[in-house]
Symmetry: C2
Subunit: 141 residues, 2 copies
DNA sequence: CCTCCTTGCTAAGGTAACCTGAATATAATG
DNA sequence: CATTATATTCAGGTTACCTTAGCAAGGAGG
């Protein structure tokens, strides 16, 4: 870990993640400075026809209470609404407003831009090798 | 970000980091469950002949106050001591105790083990290509 | 139908890992 | 020397989670 040691993959993964994610989070901040990185979990796990809080929490691997706070924030900011779930009166469906849809699209545009810049930097072969190696690590390590 | 989109490098980097770092953090927890992941910043940026708090904070890219808390913890746990810096009476040098040295060695052993397992999983060529690609992203993106 | 257990959400309060602002001691500089 | 800068520490705040506990509604068995 000290400077005398060569950089290990674990440390490199973290640094590389910070670099790339910062670009995406800066893009989010440009859309609306009140949106924080934590809110990305909501956008990331959203589903087209609406999603229940409990399912959103499960997908993001956090408690429904924690996810509830993020949803509260984005509801107050006008990015989503909670509507009653017709299939279960205990539940509510979280659906995006037009504003939410726009933000989601902008977020993906930022991610796609990072992907394109990576292909330029590493070559398309290099980018897809990196993709494959990371996928391998996630599934098999 | 949603399930309908293919995984992007940014997301893969984060997941891969979580997998590998978890192995290292579990090893740390086995040494002493009172050591938390945040403390790794101290071990990581330590210097052999002792280091000042302000320099440690700068290397770890956090405020001296935040680093001070981590150092407080590890001092209470007996992993390090603050000794007066002979070169500047305002400053203190943070130096590891024997216990701290042992923990540092154990931490590096865990990281080296991860590195070895990666070489098995990806092949040594694959591991070093991954290393090179990540280094490239960090320096040039 | 009624209990009884489960599920979906929310309210209240706690913790970890950071932060900013301000105080104190010492050093460096004109 | 008086001034300004640096090293640390104290106090208090914020963010992003968590646990505990409560209520409303659904589902299963007798």
């Amino acid at each position: 870990m000290a400077a005398t040691h060569p950089p290990h993959i674990v440390a490199l993964l973290y640094e590389a993640y910070l670099r790339l994610s910062d670009v995406v989070f800066q893009a989010g901040k440009a859309i609306d400075p009140r949106i924080r990185p934590a809110h990305s979990a909501v956008f990331f796990h959203m589903e087209h026809d609406g999603i229940r809080l409990s399912r959103l929490a499960e997908k993001a691997q956090m408690t429904p209470q924690a996810m509830g706070e993020l949803v509260d924030d984005l509801e107050k900011l006008g990015y989503l609404r909670r509507v009653p779930d017709p299939a279960d009166r205990r539940a509510k469906l979280i659906v995006f407003t037009d504003r939410g849809d726009d933000a989601l699209r902008a977020g993906y545009a930022a991610i796609d831009d990072v992907e394109r810049r990576l292909a330029v930097l590493l070559g398309e072969d290099g980018r897809s090798s990196l993709h494959a190696a990371l996928t391998r690590v996630i599934t098999d390590f």
